[in-house]
Symmetry: C2
Subunit: 401 residues, 2 copies
Amino acid sequence: MFVKTITCPRCDIHYSNGKPLQTCSCGSPLLVQYDYTAIRKAFKKEMLNKRGNTLWRYRELLPVKNDANIVSFGEGMTPMVHLKSIGKRMETPALYLKDEGCIPTGTFKARGAAVGVSMARELGIKVLAMPTNGNAGGAWSSYCAAAGIRAVIVMPQDAPDINRRECAIAGADLFLVNGLISDAGKIVNRAIAENNWYDASTLREPYRIEGKKTMAFEIAEQFDWNVPDVIIYPTGGGVGLIGMYKGFKELMELGWIEAKMPRLVAVQSAGCAPIVKAWDEHAEECDFWESSRTIAFGINVPKALGDFLVLEALQESHGCAVAMCDHEIIAAQQLLALQEGLFVCPEGAATLAAAQWLVKRDWINPDDRVVLLNTGTGLKYPDTVRADPPVLTPNERILSP
Amino acid sequence: MFVKTITCPRCDIHYSNGKPLQTCSCGSPLLVQYDYTAIRKAFKKEMLNKRGNTLWRYRELLPVKNDANIVSFGEGMTPMVHLKSIGKRMETPALYLKDEGCIPTGTFKARGAAVGVSMARELGIKVLAMPTNGNAGGAWSSYCAAAGIRAVIVMPQDAPDINRRECAIAGADLFLVNGLISDAGKIVNRAIAENNWYDASTLREPYRIEGKKTMAFEIAEQFDWNVPDVIIYPTGGGVGLIGMYKGFKELMELGWIEAKMPRLVAVQSAGCAPIVKAWDEHAEECDFWESSRTIAFGINVPKALGDFLVLEALQESHGCAVAMCDHEIIAAQQLLALQEGLFVCPEGAATLAAAQWLVKRDWINPDDRVVLLNTGTGLKYPDTVRADPPVLTPNERILSP
């Protein structure tokens, strides 16, 4: 509809829209650019009042040309929950959690899959392949099933058990690898070269990020177009963070929000923190993180293709990058359940641990409005919770403590 | 706000609002009645355009007096997904699925818990207890955690594993029983009598159903106030069905919909079908179903307190009750994933099996608009899916079939 060009952010080459694209010839991810002047005329935020509560409410800012190609399960407009109790304890009363657990497939990966698979359908793709830490595989398998596209998914053997079942029931061609996502990536690369499949790996096609950027649109809309001061995001491949940065810039371009970017915080696990290391060393790219290991499996990404874009977004937004230990992540997960009733994934819990850390160091101020981005439901991570309740026989009594 | 009285549908006794109520002295569940004349004046459906996409958008039709007592995680306004591919195959093109998997805690039980726990808070309850087949326990534990109410939960040992973890992480007092939900119910009854706890069992307090009825409001609103012809609902305790029946009647009372009730269908598993048996025998109540057993654990309820209300709603709406075998339920679950990309719970899958059965028997017509109510996400039922993918080493190749 309003796509103008597909652009390389590194060497500024422009590609024309309408045929399958992967990365730039320089290896960088490609980004979609729109005709913002035309959008400004055609799309007013008041129009949103009458639109459905899915990410497709921002239709003019999404790349699909023909509505008939849209594959949607009603994804988007996830809850923004005020963490009253924890916020009070932390003396940061304007503490919120955006809950991406309430979305088809149970994680924010549904956003990238909805837009990515819709575009793959529009481009006539028959087979796509991708490495995944699990949740993206589940989401892309599901959307591909609805689109009639064959999905070839490779994930680490250690990925959450539920992810392989999601792929299986949706009919994907699923392979496990006795290694990390980087190993899965190598297997996929080779298979793509040999079979001429479409590469749906993180940032190797330009549309997944277009789905992810809608988180920024929703956050802005949910706060009545006054963006929060800080957004904390669990960072593996970093697409959500790059996407939100792009999304906020687009809203500024349209004049829907003031020229104020939220300070973006990338949180990683201490067991896999390449972005944090590069941030601390003022590097422009990351080194490969050897022997990575963390309970927050979704962010176990030892080297991300878009690392330079993540670092740039942190820099430009006056944000930062912090690493949390697994025991801090688990403690934050328990606190969210006990105090607020929210069962989040470990990746999402890491954002609360980071917030606590940043409040203690006065990087977050008491009057800052802070959004924690919970990327998925805790229901996909049963092993993070211990439960050994007593077993009664039908005629036994409960002895009240 | 607009509550007029709490009424027994069996003996028509009226109870006054504002203090903790359980069942009527005759043993029947109690129902909340509103001052519909006052609501008609104060509440116009156009007002919904500017309200948040949660069940609290229907605030005037909910029992909580003081907003400060509301415990909400953003529950409600779940997706209505058009099943284009399966609908076409079945020659019932207007086939839809309301996806209650996209709600906090991953099942429709969140609705009853949100309203039930908010009311418990308003009434000053400190401890509540309930038997559960799992999902209600998870939901009520979560909302109780946020409300600062102690939850005592008793569930069958065979309930899905994830349910006990949900209760545990939210800090509930959890007990398992080596038996069925009816056995859990007996243990809870005794504990309530001995400890004077609030009884939050299905239909033993009048507010859970008020949360569930919002499914009817949403269905009507999602179809622009033209109700569908048929709604198929997986029936255990039956609160959702009784709730929707009540909800549609309230919308008629307000003049928001025409005086046309959707035909309500109760689907049960052939391994536990007391409602279906009573329906077939034209009975007004059910017998206890001995040795019940089904993969759709949430509807393994051998005798429901509100059975007579379910049967009445089926009768009055010109609906019916049907039982499906577990293998038909599993086949329907797989079909939904493969064709539509939706991973639903077995209870939700039973609704598709029932639709197929009813279409074959011409009970559903090709031009009927049909809504399947999927009560929860398949993510909570990993054991319903087999996945044995090949395991590769990092240097292995994918051999394309």
